[in-house]
């Protein structure tokens, strides 16, 4: 084989701590290597042309590029060699940047290691075979998991483009957290007035199938052809018959059910529609509070329902949806402030969370839009807001900034003044983070026009004095301890990953970070793609962000799906397992270990069984290869021979 080696300097990224010239000279001595050179930026247009020129001039049959991680530029170089007439799998990459030059400053050791890595790549390349992808048809349906504003936006954009959309929502209505908000910053738009029409659109689009009160059971398949099992939880109401008239809710005798939508500030009924604008506007029975289910007798809702829609014998139903792409938009949950004993959340009724205050401010909230203290219903005069409760706090395991609290506090303080003109608001903050269009102006308005008192410092503790609460904090700008007597304290609880996010990620085979937020493929350049082809992200499930950013990501994810679906077929990677039938002993171990169900039995003449790989399902993980006792199953492009050649070269 005639091999060419191209050692990249990556500007000074590699060249400053690796002697690239020496690497090129040393590997020139290897058998089969007929051409070596160094280049300043091999990934650049002229750099790629240099490779193509060398292939032609020196009649190269294989190419090694010693440069960065293959994650970014392996596709670039594969395309480059392919243009020059080589098969794209006759190319190998040695990572001498992330694995060498960025790790150590020891030039001598680095150069030595770089030479070793290139020698290994050459050794492997000698065993490379041309591989050819196959093509499969794309199922042009898309599933959106999560019906908050990001998921709604993604579903609507896909539906507008003519795709069939399956929207899966865990709760009984779509709308997500945004549906619970009163107003939105920095424009003080009414949240449900701008979200409501979008929710109605979802219900009215013929090509959107909505599975509310449903969860993802399992996911199989691959880009273009996923099969998702969705558990539709029993609502005990036939939603096809239910008209959402609300008579059942009115007559239900179980009246002490904490209202989840109102964040526990009021009660709802055991059979309920979560809020007036709910989509779908259908009733659901909460089994743990329903008298029929807990005591065995009642049945009032069944008697009063004019549509005869109550079904006490309903069970969960699992449906399978086949889709070609999945957009994950599962949103977030809020930090539980009871971790801060000194703030007394849960202990003092007038210490509430930001989302609870949203419900209090909302006209459809527990107090009809009048600000009242939960303890005695009195209108508060002094309201204290505490920022960073469960944000930027390593001691509670949340060192990150939630990114929205500074803004929602400013909004809530402004709204407080609007509701109660003679009230005073105090904000304890560490830094004000308002880096978006019209955001800082909004915070300034809170201070300048609404007279909100901003105090720079954290709060040490809160304790009762009479029927009020004393907030003891620090004004770090003055260096003096301060205390504020408050009627109501609002804790700006931060954002955390949604409950069940990790379990869902494992079902989808996507990665998540240490806090449970889903990992994007590249933090800057591939922000809505995951590491799994065909699965995209939108909204806060990827990391804290506000409504505009969530909506933008919803549209971005939809655009990615549309780009994928613009083709009718999709290339599948040939880097998959394949069976040497002669060697297969039909033990079936590979079938047992395959996490994707990509291996099945194949009957030969005379009833002999052999393992067979379904190449379109195989993800190329290599588990079967490692398990197979006679090594009859081999992973293409990472065969035992190739790996052993690398090890032998390293040990030589």
């Amino acid at each position: 084989m005639r091999i060419g080696v191209f050692v990249c300097q990556c500007g000074t990224n590699i060249a400053s701590t690796v002697d690239t010239e020496r690497v090129a000279q040393e590997v020139k001595k290897l058998p089969d290597v007929v051409y070596t050179t160094t280049y300043m930026y091999t990934c650049s247009e002229p750099g790629q042309q240099e490779i193509q020129r060398a292939i032609e001039e020196h009649n190269l049959q294989g190419v090694v590029v010693a440069a960065c991680s293959p994650r970014m530029h392996e596709p670039t170089f594969r395309r480059a060699v392919e243009k020059a007439g080589l098969n794209r799998y006759m190319f190998e990459m040695a990572n001498i940047r992330e694995h060498v030059s960025w790790v150590s400053n020891d030039r001598e050791a680095n150069t030595k290691k770089a030479i070793e890595l290139v020698r290994m790549a050459v050794a492997k390349l000698r065993f490379n075979q041309p591989l050819f992808p196959s093509r499969v048809a794309i199922n042009k349906r898309v599933m959106v998991i999560g019906g908050g504003v990001a998921g709604i936006q993604a579903a609507l954009d896909c539906a507008d483009a003519g795709l069939d959309v399956v929207l899966v929502e865990r709760r009984t209505s779509i709308g997500g957290k945004m549906a619970q908000l009163d107003k939105t910053f920095p424009t003080i738009d009414c949240s449900s007035c701008i979200l409501g029409p979008k929710m109605v659109d979802v219900a009215q689009k013929e090509n959107i199938t909505l599975h509310a009160y449903s969860e993802i059971e399992s996911v199989s398949g691959y880009v273009g052809n996923f099969a998702v099992r969705v558990r539709k939880k029993a609502t005990y109401v036939d939603w096809k018959a239910c008209t959402g008239c609300g008579v059942c809710m009115e007559k239900c005798p179980s009246r002490k059910v904490p209202d989840e939508f109102n964040e526990g500030l009021s009660f709802t009924r055991a059979i309920n529609i979560p809020f007036p604008q709910a989509i779908p506007k259908k009733a659901t029975i909460n089994r743990s509070y329903c008298i029929y289910f807990t005591k065995g007798k009642c049945g009032i809702c069944a008697k009063v329902c004019p549509a005869k829609a109550i079904r006490y014998d309903m069970t969960d139903e699992v449906v399978t949806e086949e889709v070609g792409a999945i957009i994950v938009a599962t949103g977030y949950d809020l930090f539980d402030p009871s971790a801060y004993g000194e703030y007394g959340a849960g202990q003092y009724r007038d210490v509430i969370t930001g989302i609870q205050y949203e419900r209090i401010l909302s006209a459809s909230g527990p107090f009809g839009g009048h600000i009242k203290r939960p303890s005695d219903g009195r209108e508060p005069k002094d309201v204290v807001f505490i920022a960073c409760v469960g944000s930027r706090d390593a001691s509670v395991g949340r060192p990150y900034c939630s990114g929205v609290c500074c803004m929602y506090i400013a909004k809530q303080a402004i709204l407080t003044k609007d509701h109660i003109p003679n009230s005073r608001s105090y904000v304890f903050y560490m830094d004000i983070r308002s880096p978006a269009k019209n955001y800082d102006e909004f915070v300034r308005r809170a201070q300048e026009e609404y007279g909100v008192q901003y105090i720079r410092g954290r709060v040490g503790k809160i304790y009762p004095r009479g029927d009020r609460l004393v907030v003891q904090g620090m004004d770090t700008l003055l260096g003096i301890q301060v205390e504020v007597e408050a009627d109501l304290v609002v804790l700006a609880t931060g954002i955390e990953a949604s409950r069940g996010a990790r379990e869902l990620a494992e079902k989808l085979h996507i990665s998540y970070d240490q806090y449970g937020f889903f990992m994007e493929n590249h933090p800057k350049l591939r922000p809505v793609e995951t590491n799994t082809a065909g699965i995209y992200l939108a909204g806060v499930c990827q990391g804290p962000k506000d409504i505009p950013a969530s909506v933008a990501q919803g549209s971005a994810a939809a655009a990615k799906v549309l780009a994928l679906f613009a083709r009718d077929t999709i290339e599948t990677s040939p880097q998959v397992a394949s069976v040497t039938e002669r060697a297969c002993i039909a033990c079936g171990k590979c079938i047992e270990v395959c996490p994707y169900g990509a291996i099945r039995w194949k009957e030969l003449k005379g009833g002999v069984r052999k393992a067979e790989v379904i190449t379109t399902v195989c993800q190329g993980c290599g588990l079967c290869n490692a398990t197979c006792p006679p090594k009859a199953i081999q992973l293409q492009h990472a065969t035992d021979n190739q790996i052993l050649a690398e090890i032998e070269e390293l040990c030589a």
Partner: protein, 194 residues
């Protein structure tokens, strides 16, 4: 205390001071992001010359002289409220303790009365194996020249059996005393070496 006017940051910055505080306290000073929760939680912020968060800030700026001659480090009651509430998991109490020791070693103690109390406290501990308050308190009062200091509390604490008229001779007194002797000889050796 005299208020600082202008702080010339490069000429007064003492890097070795920061490293020494970090080494002896085991805490990373740069982790503090000045939220002020330590000062907000501290019961003595009202009498400190610099609230705790400012002590932390002064260490970050390498202000050895200001920190080691401050009143705050000697007024600290080591109640650990600051440490409990610190969102950055810094053991502020440990840092304050470190600063007291450094201040002693440098001879920059601002509150001699408090220094005297610490010394007499340890002496009492060495002699009796546990502190003999009824002896310690009048002694300290006499030496600071305020013999009737806090005397009005005496009936209360005796009645509540908080302190006792006679020292309690506990088991292992000699061993405790030996700890002090060992420390003394170790310290002398260390001084000889340097």
């Amino acid at each position: 205390m005299e208020r600082l006017r202008v702080l010339a940051l490069n000429s007064t910055y003492d890097e070795s001071f920061i490293r020494q505080v970090e080494m002896e306290s085991g805490q990373q000073i740069s982790r503090c992001y000045q939220c002020g929760n330590c000062g907000a939680s501290c019961n003595y912020t009202c009498v400190y010359d610099y609230p705790v968060n400012q002590i932390m800030r002064l260490i970050q700026l390498g202000q050895k002289e200001v920190v080691l001659s401050s009143r705050a480090i000697w007024l600290c009651a080591a109640c650990t409220a600051c440490t409990t509430r610190c969102p950055c998991n810094i053991e502020v109490t440990k840092i304050m303790e470190t600063l007291r020791v450094m201040s002693l070693e440098e001879g920059t103690v601002s509150l001699k009365d408090v220094e005297l109390f610490y010394k007499e406290f340890l002496r009492s501990l060495k002699n009796f194996g546990r502190v003999f308050e009824a002896g310690l308190l009048p002694l300290v009062n006499l030496r600071i020249g305020r013999p009737f200091n806090d005397m009005e509390l005496a009936p209360l604490v005796f009645k509540g059996r908080k302190i006792h008229l006679f020292p309690s001779f506990i088991k292992g007194r000699k061993e405790i005393s030996a700890i002090f002797d060992r420390f003394e000889s170790w310290r002398r050796k260390k001084e000889d070496l340097s």
